[in-house]
């Protein structure tokens, strides 16, 4: 196995300079999830208005895969209706966990760079954790 299959350039770009990292002061929803296996933790903050995600940010103490996944997540869901974001989070989580099928994303989608985790079983959760945190965030009651 070549680590470059896992650590693709796009993924490294996001992990080194993540987008939308930081607490969201005026968030309406937030949830923190921990991977008890390794202690990594991710908090996803959402500002939802009229059933649409206006802003998404994250804070994390985690590895590069998790950071990159969270960074791409915030870019992906910003502006999406909550229902669509919910559907997408479930879809990509399921797809990441299925080692036998490729990710079904548009060719230019940077999330494609997460594809490599499928070959590294112990790292799949690193990629899915932010998405699970976002689902938990969506399920959290608004303040």
């Amino acid at each position: 196995m070549d680590p470059k299959d896992l650590y693709k350039q796009t993924l490294l770009k996001h992990s080194k300079s993540p987008h939308n990292e930081g607490e969201l002061i005026d968030s309406t929803h937030q949830a923190k999830l921990t991977n008890s296996l390794c202690g990594d933790e991710v908090t996803v903050y959402l500002k939802i208005e009229s059933n649409s995600i206006q802003r998404a940010t994250f804070t994390a103490q985690c590895c590069s895969i998790c950071t990159a996944s969270a960074s791409m997540l915030t870019q992906k869901v910003q502006g999406l209706p909550t229902e669509e974001a919910h559907y997408f989070a479930q879809k990509i989580t399921t797809q990441l966990q299925d080692k036998d099928k490729p990710l079904v994303l548009s060719a230019d989608d940077e999330l494609q760079s997460l594809e490599g985790v499928k070959q590294f079983k112990s790292r799949i959760r690193c990629a899915t954790l932010p998405w699970e945190a976002m689902l938990a965030s969506l399920a959290s009651s608004s303040e």
Binding site: M1, D2, P3, L6, L12, K16, C38, G39, D40, C63
Partner: protein
């Protein structure tokens, strides 16, 4: 600041250890197309052929339940199980076989002491003393006990190098302390605690002690009479034996006063619906069919270890750790966590731009097995200002080539994440 020099001669490998490496069949395998470099001995050690053969022999020829049958197989299994106990008695210098209780491992040993020794005598406001560097297995059982009883968990502090504040530990001992329970060697950072002084201080205050020897028993000679600890716990799988078997040593006088841990077969003298009487130690604490093969495997592992000699092992590993420390320090962006005066087993470190899980994955692609994460020591990690580290943990079958492979793999990590 310039990185420290990495000029250090690799340690000479004693002949007996050179040969011993050949005794571990798993070390001949490859991982991801590369020869396995196994540096996760703190998590679990590999098994020598002698242990594997004994398990095979037991299941092929002797397998039966113990303390039950009059038939030959049961008699043979019983005597093999009890011989294993006797080997452990001698190995740790206990007075008598009745002081050796077989458990599932260190975790169960600690829980047994919490339930059977401490709980019956503790009251709200009493205290348990541990240290800041404990494994979760020596934190959580006490937290649960405190929840049940209203007792208070006291934690002796450590400094930024990961060393125990011995004076603070002594000052936390009081007439309220019902037990001081502490680790001999930290699984996460390899620091060796001054356990002789800790036990002596506890004795002075009349406080019983439990020593967690999970990470020391395989690295240095130990003797419970010299240490004078009241209890000592260790796991078989960290000393080249199977998983699922461990030991609790306890002074007989204390064991005599203790209530059973679990109820079941083999721990009773008589049972009636009006009441049940219990066997003497150690049987009182071994309800149900134990891990017979595990105990026999543990004996084989200890016999094997003694054929090499723990003094030889301790001397060699000290040199190997020195070599590894110098080599690791010379890597750009690598910082060793914990800087104890005395170290055994493990070196933990972080890399400037790479999270420990990324380090772990890349090392795996090079065939190098290490542990990354919090090492079941979250409070210690927090104290040392890190959320996770990479830990290389060594055994006598490791050599300088293993260290060199680790170092060259870490250099690849640096390049990928620079």
């Amino acid at each position: 600041m310039a990185k420290p020099s990495n000029t250090i001669q690799p340690p000479a490998i004693p002949d007996i250890l050179q040969k011993a490496r050949e005794d571990f069949p798993i070390l001949k395998r490859t991982v991801n197309g590369k020869p396995l470099v196994y540096l996760d001995n703190g998590a679990s050690t590999q098994k020598p052929q002698a242990v594997i053969d004994v398990l095979n022999r037991y299941y092929s020829n002797e397998n039966s339940n113990i303390h039950r049958g009059v038939h030959l197989l049961s008699v043979e299994a019983t005597s093999a199980y009890e011989e294993a106990r006797h080997t452990i008695t001698d190995f740790i210098g206990a007075n008598d076989d009745s002081e050796i209780i077989f458990t599932r491992g260190t975790t169960e040993s600690v829980n047994l002491v919490a339930h059977s020794f401490v709980e019956p005598q503790i009251q709200a406001g009493d205290e348990i003393l541990i240290t800041h560097m404990e494994h979760h297995a020596n934190i959580v059982p006490w937290q649960l006990l405190c929840e049940r009883t209203g007792a208070i968990l006291k934690v002796a502090p450590i400094d930024e190098n990961g060393a125990l504040d011995l004076e603070a530990f002594k000052n936390l001992l009081s007439e309220k302390t019902k037990l001081a329970s502490f680790v001999h060697v930290s699984n996460a950072i390899g620091v060796i605690n001054p356990v002789a002084e800790m036990i002596a201080a506890a004795k002075e205050k009349g406080v019983p002690t439990l020593l967690d020897a999970a990470q020391s028993i395989q690295h240095m000679p130990l003797n419970v009479k010299e240490l004078d600890c009241d209890f000592l716990a260790f796991s078989g799988h960290k000393i080249f034996a199977p998983t699922g078997i461990g030991v609790l040593y306890g002074k007989r006088a204390l064991l005599d006063e203790m209530r059973p841990y679990q109820g079941g077969g083999d721990m009773i003298s008589t049972v009636s619906f009006e009441g049940t009487t219990f066997k003497e130690p150690p049987s009182r604490f071994e309800a149900g069919t134990p891990h017979i093969a595990g105990a026999i495997g543990l004996k084989a592992a200890i016999d094997y270890l003694q054929s090499i000699g723990l003094e030889t092992i301790a001397r060699y590993e000290e040199e190997l750790l020195k070599y590894a420390t110098v080599q690791l320090r010379a890597i750009d962006g690598l910082r060793i966590i914990g800087n104890p005066a005395k170290r055994a087993g493990a070196i933990s470190f972080v890399m400037e731009n790479a999270h420990s899980h990324d380090v772990g994955t890349i090392l795996d692609t090079e065939g190098v097995a290490i542990r990354s994460g919090h090492h079941c020591c979250e409070p210690l990690m927090k104290r040392l200002g890190v959320s996770a580290t990479t830990r290389a943990s060594f055994s006598f079958y490791n050599n300088h080539t293993d260290v060199d492979t680790l170092v060259s793999a870490l250099k690849k990590v640096s390049i990928l994440f620079e």
